[in-house]
């Protein structure tokens, strides 16, 4: 009985089909599940940090979370952390917008026109491999120690990466879908909106996620080297004072904001643009 019962059960499972509800999976459920997993992951990381600081037992070099978090709160409430966060966020936002727009335009052009890629592809490869520090120093030397140079330095570091990711996305666009669109007389705008951008969405999201992470790190270096404000400047001061808790508090504050951007913007956006794929 047992064996035949098992056999029937297995056949039943084999025959069953996974069906999606009409209109796709509920995005809210996915979001909240992702949010909770994210919170759990951060708590786990905090536990590892706490354990390490206890094991090392060196409050100066390895301050514990219960030292750094109050320090962060103190800087936030009574120090300049809010002003520095605002300045750094503005720089990150501005350079992110410039980098995504510039990288998208270059990536689309190089992916679309192979002759342009033949000529300018090597430029892109070289730009991709120039160290960020070199670009930053050159921008400061050429343009001066000002805001314009800082933004340019970060954007020039990031644009090649976005361009390469988008170029690869354009290269794998479905030619049959493009042919279908042209056959039915879809306008350029319609093709961009309904055919091209949805196919590029995963590449755009990957470029945006990688971009924001890279940009804020470069912005910090730019601020460290040549700006009188921002998280990078504040870390520079902490470095001179050998204040590791201060360095961690400043960096952690911005990292938490970036985490909020990931969980609050990128994760829901990703769930939305890929909802047609199902769970």
């Amino acid at each position: 009985m047992g064996l035949s019962g098992l056999g029937q059960g297995r056949r039943r499972i084999t025959r069953s089909r996974v069906t999606l509800p009409p209109g796709g999976p509920p995005a809210r459920g996915l979001l909240s599940a992702g949010l909770w997993r994210g919170v759990g992951s951060v708590l786990a990381l905090g536990s590892v940090w706490a354990a390490l600081s206890l094991i090392l037992a060196d409050p100066l070099r390895a301050p514990a979370p219960w030292v750094v978090l109050p320090e962060m709160w103190h800087l936030l409430v009574q120090g300049d952390l809010r002003a520095d966060l605002a300045v750094t966020l503005r720089r990150v936002g501005l350079t992110f917008a410039i980098s995504m727009a510039g990288g998208l335009a270059i990536g689309l052009a190089l992916g679309r026109w192979s002759r342009a890629d033949l000529w300018f592809g090597p430029w892109l490869t070289m730009a991709l491999n120039i160290p960020a520090l070199v670009t930053i120093v050159l921008c400061y030397l050429w343009i001066g120690l000002n805001e314009w140079a800082a933004v340019m330095a970060v954007a020039l570091n990031k644009i090649p990466l976005v361009a390469v990711m988008l170029r690869e996305g354009v290269r794998v666009l479905d030619p049959d879908l493009m042919a279908m669109a042209r056959l039915h007389g879809m306008s350029r705008t319609e093709r961009l909106r309904h055919i091209i951008l949805p196919q590029l969405a995963p590449h755009l999201l990957a470029a945006a996620r990688a971009g924001i992470a890279l940009i804020w790190k470069i912005v910090l270096v730019v601020e460290f080297l040549g700006r009188p404000n921002g998280i990078g400047f504040r870390i520079h001061l902490d470095f001179q004072m050998f204040d590791i808790a201060g360095v961690l508090a400043n960096a952690l504050a911005f990292a938490l904001i970036m985490l909020a951007v990931e969980l609050g913007i990128f994760a829901p956006l990703s769930a939305r643009v890929s909802r047609w794929r199902g769970p």
Binding site: L20, L177, A179, P198, W276, G278
Partner: protein, 206 residues
């Protein structure tokens, strides 16, 4: 009416299509057979206006539609949008056509939720919803089992009879060609040309 007089079509220095001449009228179905890679899809792309680099002349109506080898649905748009967005038809027209192909209940589904046979029905609905004067079918029932092909052949035949487009069908399948084609030709040679199939009606002008 489609009137085709192609002198040659080349890819680089390599000529792929030789002199090709034929004419077909409304409601006629020209079935083209031939081995893989001989140039059937290339000819259909020329007829569709997707490739205009050839020598010769094609007089074909502007109102045209094509069913590709794959269903070519936008997976990120609902089934109904896959008809209304490319063809610019009204939603009620698209719904009526979906009902006609037996998928009235799938309008709000994602293409990924459809079987291949259902996806091909959507492609057929999209092709016919604009009442095209010329319809190009490029291996439209490939990779389907015999029963599904039979259903789709009946459906396609009924729609062709109702809307009377001039149809060019490229296929390897004798079943499909026999069921739909009113005229038969075979493509062969290098560069490829069209030859009448023995015992079949010959297209005017060939």
């Amino acid at each position: 009416m489609i009137s085709v007089d192609i002198t040659s079509k080349s890819f680089g220095p390599q000529p792929v299509l030789g002199p090709i001449r034929f004419r077909i009228g409304a409601g006629d179905v020209l079935g083209i057979s031939g081995s893989s890679g001989v140039g059937k899809s290339t000819l259909l792309r020329l007829l569709a206006g997707l490739d205009q680099r050839f020598e010769g002349r094609i007089d074909a109506p502007q109102s045209r539609a094509m069913v590709f080898q794959s269903p070519t649905l936008m997976p990120w748009r609902k089934v109904i949008d896959n008809i209304t967005i490319p063809t610019h038809c009204r939603r009620d027209e698209a719904l009526a056509m979906l009902e006609r192909v037996g998928l009235g209940d799938k309008a709000e589904s994602w293409p990924g939720q459809l079987s291949l046979g259902q996806a091909r029905r959507v492609a057929i609905a999209r092709a016919f919803v604009g009442r095209p004067a010329m319809l190009l079918l490029d291996e439209p029932f490939a990779s389907l089992d015999t029963a599904r092909v039979g259903d789709l052949l009946e459906l396609t035949k009924a729609l062709i009879t109702e809307f009377r487009p001039a149809v060019v069908l490229a296929s390897h399948s004798e079943t499909e060609l026999e069921a739909l084609a009113t005229e038969r030709m075979v493509m062969q040679g290098t560069p490829a040309q069209l030859y009448p199939l023995a015992g079949t009606r010959v297209c005017a002008g060939s």
